[in-house]
Symmetry: C2
Subunit: 221 residues, 2 copies
Protein backbone atom coordinates (compact mmCIF):
# COMPACT_ATOMS: atom_id res chain seq x y z
CA UNK A 1 0.00 0.00 0.00
CA UNK A 2 1.44 3.39 -0.98
CA UNK A 3 1.99 6.04 1.68
CA UNK A 4 -0.89 8.42 2.42
CA UNK A 5 0.62 11.19 0.31
CA UNK A 6 0.55 9.01 -2.82
CA UNK A 7 -2.83 7.39 -2.18
CA UNK A 8 -4.62 10.67 -1.76
CA UNK A 9 -3.98 12.06 -5.26
CA UNK A 10 -4.82 8.68 -6.80
CA UNK A 11 -8.18 8.62 -5.01
CA UNK A 12 -8.72 12.19 -6.07
CA UNK A 13 -7.96 11.30 -9.70
CA UNK A 14 -10.35 8.35 -9.54
CA UNK A 15 -13.11 10.60 -8.20
CA UNK A 16 -12.51 13.17 -10.92
CA UNK A 17 -12.64 10.44 -13.58
CA UNK A 18 -15.84 8.98 -12.13
CA UNK A 19 -17.47 12.42 -12.10
CA UNK A 20 -16.40 13.11 -15.69
CA UNK A 21 -17.97 9.80 -16.80
CA UNK A 22 -21.18 10.57 -14.90
CA UNK A 23 -21.39 14.03 -16.46
CA UNK A 24 -20.79 12.69 -19.97
CA UNK A 25 -23.30 9.88 -19.45
CA UNK A 26 -25.90 12.36 -18.19
CA UNK A 27 -25.43 14.51 -21.29
CA UNK A 28 -25.74 11.43 -23.54
CA UNK A 29 -28.85 10.04 -21.74
CA UNK A 30 -30.45 13.49 -21.69
CA UNK A 31 -29.83 13.94 -25.44
CA UNK A 32 -30.57 10.47 -26.76
CA UNK A 33 -32.45 8.49 -24.12
CA UNK A 34 -31.51 5.10 -22.69
CA UNK A 35 -31.96 2.88 -25.76
CA UNK A 36 -30.08 5.14 -28.19
CA UNK A 37 -27.30 6.15 -25.77
CA UNK A 38 -23.97 4.43 -26.54
CA UNK A 39 -21.03 3.70 -24.28
CA UNK A 40 -18.70 4.62 -27.15
CA UNK A 41 -20.24 8.09 -27.41
CA UNK A 42 -19.97 8.52 -23.64
CA UNK A 43 -16.26 7.58 -23.74
CA UNK A 44 -15.75 9.99 -26.67
CA UNK A 45 -17.35 12.78 -24.62
CA UNK A 46 -14.87 12.20 -21.75
CA UNK A 47 -11.69 11.02 -23.43
CA UNK A 48 -11.54 8.27 -20.77
CA UNK A 49 -10.19 4.84 -21.81
CA UNK A 50 -12.33 1.72 -21.73
CA UNK A 51 -10.13 0.37 -18.95
CA UNK A 52 -10.68 3.44 -16.79
CA UNK A 53 -14.39 3.27 -17.51
CA UNK A 54 -14.74 -0.37 -16.46
CA UNK A 55 -12.85 0.39 -13.24
CA UNK A 56 -15.88 2.49 -12.26
CA UNK A 57 -18.90 1.02 -14.07
CA UNK A 58 -19.74 -2.39 -15.48
CA UNK A 59 -22.27 -1.37 -18.17
CA UNK A 60 -24.59 1.29 -19.59
CA UNK A 61 -27.26 -0.12 -17.29
CA UNK A 62 -24.98 0.34 -14.27
CA UNK A 63 -24.30 3.93 -15.30
CA UNK A 64 -27.99 4.73 -15.74
CA UNK A 65 -28.81 3.34 -12.30
CA UNK A 66 -25.93 5.33 -10.74
CA UNK A 67 -27.28 8.57 -12.24
CA UNK A 68 -30.84 7.97 -11.10
CA UNK A 69 -29.72 6.90 -7.59
CA UNK A 70 -27.38 9.85 -7.17
CA UNK A 71 -30.12 12.29 -8.13
CA UNK A 72 -32.61 10.60 -5.79
CA UNK A 73 -30.18 11.15 -2.89
CA UNK A 74 -29.61 14.77 -3.97
CA UNK A 75 -33.35 15.51 -4.04
CA UNK A 76 -34.01 13.88 -0.70
CA UNK A 77 -31.26 16.01 0.82
CA UNK A 78 -32.76 19.10 -0.77
CA UNK A 79 -36.21 18.40 0.66
CA UNK A 80 -34.73 17.88 4.13
CA UNK A 81 -32.82 21.16 4.22
CA UNK A 82 -33.96 23.28 7.14
CA UNK A 83 -36.67 25.69 6.04
CA UNK A 84 -36.50 29.37 6.79
CA UNK A 85 -39.71 29.20 8.80
CA UNK A 86 -42.23 29.20 5.95
CA UNK A 87 -45.43 27.20 6.09
CA UNK A 88 -45.41 23.90 4.14
CA UNK A 89 -47.36 25.28 1.15
CA UNK A 90 -45.01 28.23 0.70
CA UNK A 91 -42.12 25.79 1.12
CA UNK A 92 -43.67 23.60 -1.59
CA UNK A 93 -43.75 26.54 -4.03
CA UNK A 94 -40.14 27.30 -3.16
CA UNK A 95 -39.14 23.65 -3.74
CA UNK A 96 -41.01 23.71 -7.05
CA UNK A 97 -38.87 26.69 -8.16
CA UNK A 98 -35.72 24.91 -6.99
CA UNK A 99 -36.76 21.76 -8.87
CA UNK A 100 -37.27 23.74 -12.08
CA UNK A 101 -33.94 25.56 -11.69
CA UNK A 102 -32.09 22.28 -11.17
CA UNK A 103 -33.90 20.70 -14.09
CA UNK A 104 -33.15 23.58 -16.46
CA UNK A 105 -29.54 23.90 -15.32
CA UNK A 106 -28.39 20.31 -14.93
CA UNK A 107 -28.10 17.53 -17.50
CA UNK A 108 -27.83 15.05 -14.58
CA UNK A 109 -31.29 16.05 -13.33
CA UNK A 110 -32.80 15.93 -16.82
CA UNK A 111 -31.15 12.56 -17.50
CA UNK A 112 -32.47 11.14 -14.20
CA UNK A 113 -36.01 12.29 -15.03
CA UNK A 114 -35.83 10.89 -18.54
CA UNK A 115 -34.43 7.58 -17.27
CA UNK A 116 -37.04 7.37 -14.50
CA UNK A 117 -39.95 7.33 -16.91
CA UNK A 118 -38.63 6.41 -20.35
CA UNK A 119 -40.26 3.47 -22.05
CA UNK A 120 -36.96 1.94 -23.24
CA UNK A 121 -35.75 1.87 -19.60
CA UNK A 122 -38.92 0.03 -18.61
CA UNK A 123 -38.48 -2.33 -21.58
CA UNK A 124 -34.87 -3.00 -20.50
CA UNK A 125 -36.19 -4.16 -17.11
CA UNK A 126 -34.10 -1.57 -15.29
CA UNK A 127 -35.50 -1.21 -11.78
CA UNK A 128 -35.03 2.53 -11.33
CA UNK A 129 -36.01 3.86 -7.90
CA UNK A 130 -39.40 5.53 -7.62
CA UNK A 131 -38.99 9.20 -8.63
CA UNK A 132 -38.73 11.30 -5.50
CA UNK A 133 -40.44 14.53 -6.52
CA UNK A 134 -43.95 13.13 -6.10
CA UNK A 135 -42.97 11.97 -2.59
CA UNK A 136 -41.62 15.42 -1.69
CA UNK A 137 -44.82 17.12 -2.87
CA UNK A 138 -46.86 14.60 -0.86
CA UNK A 139 -44.86 15.29 2.32
CA UNK A 140 -45.34 19.06 2.07
CA UNK A 141 -49.07 18.60 1.43
CA UNK A 142 -49.39 16.27 4.44
CA UNK A 143 -47.55 18.81 6.62
CA UNK A 144 -49.87 21.51 5.27
CA UNK A 145 -52.89 19.35 6.15
CA UNK A 146 -51.61 18.90 9.73
CA UNK A 147 -51.33 22.67 10.06
CA UNK A 148 -54.89 23.15 8.80
CA UNK A 149 -53.81 24.76 5.53
CA UNK A 150 -55.51 22.29 3.15
CA UNK A 151 -59.19 22.35 2.25
CA UNK A 152 -61.11 19.57 4.03
CA UNK A 153 -61.83 17.58 0.86
CA UNK A 154 -58.19 17.44 -0.32
CA UNK A 155 -56.33 14.13 0.02
CA UNK A 156 -52.53 14.77 -0.07
CA UNK A 157 -51.49 11.57 -1.90
CA UNK A 158 -53.68 11.91 -5.04
CA UNK A 159 -53.08 15.69 -5.05
CA UNK A 160 -49.31 15.01 -5.12
CA UNK A 161 -49.82 12.65 -8.07
CA UNK A 162 -51.73 15.35 -9.98
CA UNK A 163 -48.98 17.92 -9.31
CA UNK A 164 -46.27 15.46 -10.37
CA UNK A 165 -48.16 14.38 -13.50
CA UNK A 166 -48.78 18.00 -14.52
CA UNK A 167 -45.07 18.84 -14.10
CA UNK A 168 -43.87 15.70 -15.91
CA UNK A 169 -46.41 16.41 -18.65
CA UNK A 170 -45.32 20.04 -18.94
CA UNK A 171 -41.78 18.78 -19.53
CA UNK A 172 -43.07 16.56 -22.34
CA UNK A 173 -45.36 19.07 -24.01
CA UNK A 174 -42.74 21.83 -23.99
CA UNK A 175 -39.89 19.60 -25.15
CA UNK A 176 -40.57 20.11 -28.84
CA UNK A 177 -40.90 23.84 -28.49
CA UNK A 178 -37.51 23.89 -26.75
CA UNK A 179 -38.07 27.25 -25.05
CA UNK A 180 -37.37 26.72 -21.39
CA UNK A 181 -39.61 29.63 -20.30
CA UNK A 182 -42.50 27.52 -21.63
CA UNK A 183 -41.93 24.99 -18.88
CA UNK A 184 -41.60 27.60 -16.13
CA UNK A 185 -44.72 29.43 -17.33
CA UNK A 186 -46.73 26.19 -17.44
CA UNK A 187 -45.75 25.22 -13.91
CA UNK A 188 -46.79 28.72 -12.78
CA UNK A 189 -50.14 28.23 -14.51
CA UNK A 190 -50.54 24.90 -12.74
CA UNK A 191 -49.99 26.40 -9.29
CA UNK A 192 -52.31 29.32 -10.02
CA UNK A 193 -55.07 26.87 -10.98
CA UNK A 194 -54.39 24.24 -8.29
CA UNK A 195 -53.71 26.34 -5.20
CA UNK A 196 -57.32 27.58 -4.87
CA UNK A 197 -58.37 23.90 -4.98
CA UNK A 198 -55.75 22.89 -2.40
CA UNK A 199 -55.46 25.67 0.17
CA UNK A 200 -57.85 27.20 2.70
CA UNK A 201 -59.01 30.76 1.91
CA UNK A 202 -56.89 32.30 4.71
CA UNK A 203 -53.67 30.90 3.22
CA UNK A 204 -54.70 31.95 -0.29
CA UNK A 205 -55.31 35.49 0.88
CA UNK A 206 -51.83 35.69 2.45
CA UNK A 207 -50.31 34.15 -0.69
CA UNK A 208 -52.06 36.59 -3.03
CA UNK A 209 -50.98 39.49 -0.85
CA UNK A 210 -47.37 38.26 -1.16
CA UNK A 211 -45.23 38.87 -4.20
CA UNK A 212 -45.23 35.35 -5.66
CA UNK A 213 -46.21 36.60 -9.10
CA UNK A 214 -43.36 39.08 -9.07
CA UNK A 215 -40.68 36.75 -7.75
CA UNK A 216 -37.51 35.93 -9.71
CA UNK A 217 -38.48 32.96 -11.90
CA UNK A 218 -36.17 29.98 -12.39
CA UNK A 219 -34.03 30.32 -15.50
CA UNK A 220 -31.80 27.94 -17.35
CA UNK A 221 -28.00 27.70 -17.09
CA UNK B 1 -58.25 1.40 -68.03
CA UNK B 2 -59.97 -1.77 -66.81
CA UNK B 3 -63.75 -1.91 -66.61
CA UNK B 4 -65.41 -0.74 -63.39
CA UNK B 5 -65.92 -4.29 -62.13
CA UNK B 6 -62.15 -4.91 -62.19
CA UNK B 7 -61.07 -1.49 -60.89
CA UNK B 8 -63.23 -1.61 -57.80
CA UNK B 9 -61.63 -4.68 -56.16
CA UNK B 10 -58.19 -3.31 -56.95
CA UNK B 11 -58.97 -0.03 -55.17
CA UNK B 12 -60.41 -2.04 -52.31
CA UNK B 13 -57.23 -4.15 -52.12
CA UNK B 14 -55.08 -1.03 -52.12
CA UNK B 15 -57.12 0.44 -49.26
CA UNK B 16 -56.83 -2.77 -47.26
CA UNK B 17 -53.06 -2.83 -47.82
CA UNK B 18 -52.71 0.81 -46.79
CA UNK B 19 -54.71 0.19 -43.62
CA UNK B 20 -52.65 -2.90 -42.77
CA UNK B 21 -49.44 -0.86 -43.13
CA UNK B 22 -50.85 1.94 -40.96
CA UNK B 23 -51.90 -0.55 -38.26
CA UNK B 24 -48.51 -2.28 -38.26
CA UNK B 25 -46.68 1.05 -38.20
CA UNK B 26 -48.82 2.25 -35.29
CA UNK B 27 -47.98 -0.91 -33.32
CA UNK B 28 -44.27 -0.44 -34.08
CA UNK B 29 -44.20 3.30 -33.20
CA UNK B 30 -46.25 2.65 -30.05
CA UNK B 31 -43.85 -0.12 -28.95
CA UNK B 32 -40.49 1.34 -29.93
CA UNK B 33 -40.87 5.07 -30.59
CA UNK B 34 -39.89 6.93 -33.72
CA UNK B 35 -36.08 6.57 -33.62
CA UNK B 36 -36.04 2.84 -32.88
CA UNK B 37 -38.94 1.91 -35.22
CA UNK B 38 -37.76 0.17 -38.38
CA UNK B 39 -39.42 -0.11 -41.78
CA UNK B 40 -38.26 -3.72 -41.97
CA UNK B 41 -40.07 -4.59 -38.74
CA UNK B 42 -43.20 -2.83 -40.01
CA UNK B 43 -43.09 -4.84 -43.27
CA UNK B 44 -42.54 -8.04 -41.24
CA UNK B 45 -45.64 -7.22 -39.17
CA UNK B 46 -47.79 -6.91 -42.32
CA UNK B 47 -46.25 -9.37 -44.78
CA UNK B 48 -46.47 -6.56 -47.38
CA UNK B 49 -43.70 -6.33 -50.00
CA UNK B 50 -41.37 -3.33 -50.22
CA UNK B 51 -42.92 -2.52 -53.61
CA UNK B 52 -46.44 -2.44 -52.19
CA UNK B 53 -45.21 -0.34 -49.27
CA UNK B 54 -43.57 2.27 -51.48
CA UNK B 55 -46.76 2.52 -53.55
CA UNK B 56 -48.40 4.01 -50.44
CA UNK B 57 -45.63 5.66 -48.41
CA UNK B 58 -42.23 7.11 -49.25
CA UNK B 59 -40.50 6.72 -45.87
CA UNK B 60 -40.81 6.10 -42.13
CA UNK B 61 -41.18 9.85 -41.77
CA UNK B 62 -44.09 9.86 -44.24
CA UNK B 63 -45.75 7.04 -42.31
CA UNK B 64 -45.36 8.80 -38.95
CA UNK B 65 -46.89 11.99 -40.35
CA UNK B 66 -49.80 10.02 -41.87
CA UNK B 67 -50.60 8.43 -38.50
CA UNK B 68 -50.47 11.70 -36.59
CA UNK B 69 -52.58 13.52 -39.25
CA UNK B 70 -55.19 10.76 -39.43
CA UNK B 71 -55.61 10.78 -35.65
CA UNK B 72 -55.86 14.59 -35.58
CA UNK B 73 -58.77 14.40 -38.06
CA UNK B 74 -60.40 11.61 -36.04
CA UNK B 75 -60.23 13.62 -32.80
CA UNK B 76 -61.57 16.79 -34.38
CA UNK B 77 -64.52 14.81 -35.74
CA UNK B 78 -65.10 13.32 -32.30
CA UNK B 79 -65.17 16.72 -30.63
CA UNK B 80 -67.64 18.02 -33.21
CA UNK B 81 -70.16 15.21 -32.78
CA UNK B 82 -73.52 16.57 -31.69
CA UNK B 83 -73.83 16.48 -27.93
CA UNK B 84 -76.82 14.98 -26.20
CA UNK B 85 -77.69 18.28 -24.57
CA UNK B 86 -75.18 18.26 -21.73
CA UNK B 87 -73.48 21.41 -20.55
CA UNK B 88 -69.87 21.94 -21.77
CA UNK B 89 -68.23 20.80 -18.52
CA UNK B 90 -70.19 17.54 -18.43
CA UNK B 91 -69.38 17.13 -22.11
CA UNK B 92 -65.68 17.67 -21.30
CA UNK B 93 -65.77 14.86 -18.72
CA UNK B 94 -67.48 12.63 -21.28
CA UNK B 95 -64.84 13.48 -23.91
CA UNK B 96 -62.12 12.76 -21.35
CA UNK B 97 -63.57 9.25 -20.87
CA UNK B 98 -63.79 8.77 -24.64
CA UNK B 99 -60.17 9.95 -25.02
CA UNK B 100 -59.00 7.43 -22.40
CA UNK B 101 -60.98 4.59 -23.98
CA UNK B 102 -59.53 5.33 -27.41
CA UNK B 103 -56.05 5.62 -25.97
CA UNK B 104 -56.27 2.33 -24.08
CA UNK B 105 -57.90 0.50 -26.96
CA UNK B 106 -56.03 1.76 -30.01
CA UNK B 107 -52.35 1.49 -30.93
CA UNK B 108 -52.96 4.22 -33.56
CA UNK B 109 -53.99 6.69 -30.84
CA UNK B 110 -51.08 5.73 -28.58
CA UNK B 111 -48.65 5.96 -31.52
CA UNK B 112 -49.99 9.40 -32.48
CA UNK B 113 -49.55 10.65 -28.92
CA UNK B 114 -46.05 9.22 -28.65
CA UNK B 115 -45.07 10.69 -32.02
CA UNK B 116 -46.59 14.08 -31.15
CA UNK B 117 -44.31 14.63 -28.19
CA UNK B 118 -41.35 12.27 -28.52
CA UNK B 119 -37.92 13.81 -28.39
CA UNK B 120 -36.57 11.76 -31.31
CA UNK B 121 -39.42 13.09 -33.50
CA UNK B 122 -38.45 16.62 -32.55
CA UNK B 123 -34.79 15.81 -33.21
CA UNK B 124 -35.74 14.42 -36.65
CA UNK B 125 -37.30 17.80 -37.48
CA UNK B 126 -40.66 16.19 -38.19
CA UNK B 127 -43.29 18.93 -38.14
CA UNK B 128 -46.15 17.01 -36.50
CA UNK B 129 -49.40 18.95 -36.17
CA UNK B 130 -50.16 20.47 -32.79
CA UNK B 131 -51.86 17.80 -30.65
CA UNK B 132 -55.61 18.39 -30.71
CA UNK B 133 -56.66 17.28 -27.23
CA UNK B 134 -55.49 20.50 -25.57
CA UNK B 135 -57.52 22.46 -28.15
CA UNK B 136 -60.64 20.37 -27.49
CA UNK B 137 -60.36 20.92 -23.72
CA UNK B 138 -59.91 24.66 -24.34
CA UNK B 139 -63.03 24.83 -26.51
CA UNK B 140 -65.21 23.12 -23.91
CA UNK B 141 -63.84 25.40 -21.18
CA UNK B 142 -64.53 28.50 -23.30
CA UNK B 143 -68.08 27.31 -23.95
CA UNK B 144 -68.47 26.67 -20.20
CA UNK B 145 -67.24 30.20 -19.51
CA UNK B 146 -69.79 31.66 -21.93
CA UNK B 147 -72.55 29.79 -20.08
CA UNK B 148 -71.35 31.15 -16.73
CA UNK B 149 -70.13 27.75 -15.50
CA UNK B 150 -66.49 28.73 -14.84
CA UNK B 151 -65.27 30.55 -11.76
CA UNK B 152 -64.51 34.20 -12.54
CA UNK B 153 -60.74 33.86 -12.06
CA UNK B 154 -60.33 30.89 -14.45
CA UNK B 155 -58.74 31.52 -17.85
CA UNK B 156 -59.69 28.70 -20.28
CA UNK B 157 -56.41 28.58 -22.27
CA UNK B 158 -53.96 28.02 -19.38
CA UNK B 159 -56.48 25.73 -17.65
CA UNK B 160 -56.60 23.59 -20.82
CA UNK B 161 -52.80 23.41 -20.79
CA UNK B 162 -52.81 22.19 -17.17
CA UNK B 163 -55.43 19.51 -17.98
CA UNK B 164 -53.46 18.38 -21.04
CA UNK B 165 -50.14 18.35 -19.19
CA UNK B 166 -51.61 16.34 -16.31
CA UNK B 167 -53.06 13.76 -18.72
CA UNK B 168 -49.88 13.53 -20.81
CA UNK B 169 -47.88 13.25 -17.57
CA UNK B 170 -50.21 10.54 -16.20
CA UNK B 171 -49.51 8.56 -19.35
CA UNK B 172 -45.77 8.88 -18.71
CA UNK B 173 -45.79 8.15 -14.99
CA UNK B 174 -48.02 5.07 -15.37
CA UNK B 175 -46.15 3.70 -18.38
CA UNK B 176 -43.63 1.75 -16.32
CA UNK B 177 -46.27 0.27 -14.05
CA UNK B 178 -48.12 -0.96 -17.17
CA UNK B 179 -51.46 -1.32 -15.41
CA UNK B 180 -53.92 0.65 -17.49
CA UNK B 181 -56.29 1.25 -14.53
CA UNK B 182 -53.51 3.41 -13.09
CA UNK B 183 -54.00 5.91 -15.91
CA UNK B 184 -57.79 5.97 -15.58
CA UNK B 185 -57.58 6.38 -11.80
CA UNK B 186 -55.09 9.24 -12.14
CA UNK B 187 -57.25 11.13 -14.60
CA UNK B 188 -60.19 10.70 -12.22
CA UNK B 189 -58.05 12.12 -9.41
CA UNK B 190 -57.15 15.05 -11.63
CA UNK B 191 -60.78 15.94 -12.35
CA UNK B 192 -61.76 15.56 -8.69
CA UNK B 193 -59.01 18.01 -7.73
CA UNK B 194 -59.42 20.43 -10.67
CA UNK B 195 -63.19 20.72 -11.01
CA UNK B 196 -63.66 22.63 -7.74
CA UNK B 197 -61.03 25.08 -9.02
CA UNK B 198 -62.72 25.37 -12.43
CA UNK B 199 -66.50 25.28 -11.92
CA UNK B 200 -68.96 27.53 -10.13
CA UNK B 201 -70.51 26.03 -6.94
CA UNK B 202 -73.93 25.49 -8.59
CA UNK B 203 -72.42 23.27 -11.30
CA UNK B 204 -70.33 21.39 -8.73
CA UNK B 205 -73.41 20.69 -6.63
CA UNK B 206 -75.24 19.22 -9.63
CA UNK B 207 -72.15 17.21 -10.59
CA UNK B 208 -71.71 15.78 -7.09
CA UNK B 209 -75.40 14.89 -6.98
CA UNK B 210 -74.94 12.99 -10.26
CA UNK B 211 -73.42 9.55 -10.50
CA UNK B 212 -70.04 10.49 -12.02
CA UNK B 213 -68.11 8.50 -9.41
CA UNK B 214 -70.23 5.44 -10.12
CA UNK B 215 -70.09 5.63 -13.89
CA UNK B 216 -68.61 2.87 -16.06
CA UNK B 217 -64.91 3.72 -16.26
CA UNK B 218 -62.97 3.43 -19.56
CA UNK B 219 -61.22 0.09 -19.89
CA UNK B 220 -58.65 -1.24 -22.31
CA UNK B 221 -59.30 -3.46 -25.32
Amino acid sequence: MPPESLREPRQHRARVTREAIMRAAAAEFDDRGYAAASLGAILDRTGVTKGAFYFHFSSKRDLALAIVREQAVRWRRLAEEPTTGQDPLTRLLELSDVALSLFLGSAEVRAALRLSYERSVVDAGLAVPVPVWEGIVGEQLRAAQQQGLLRAEVDPAPAARVVNDAMVGARTTTEGVSDSPGLVARVDEMWRLLLPALAVPAWLQRWRAGAWEDRARPTSG
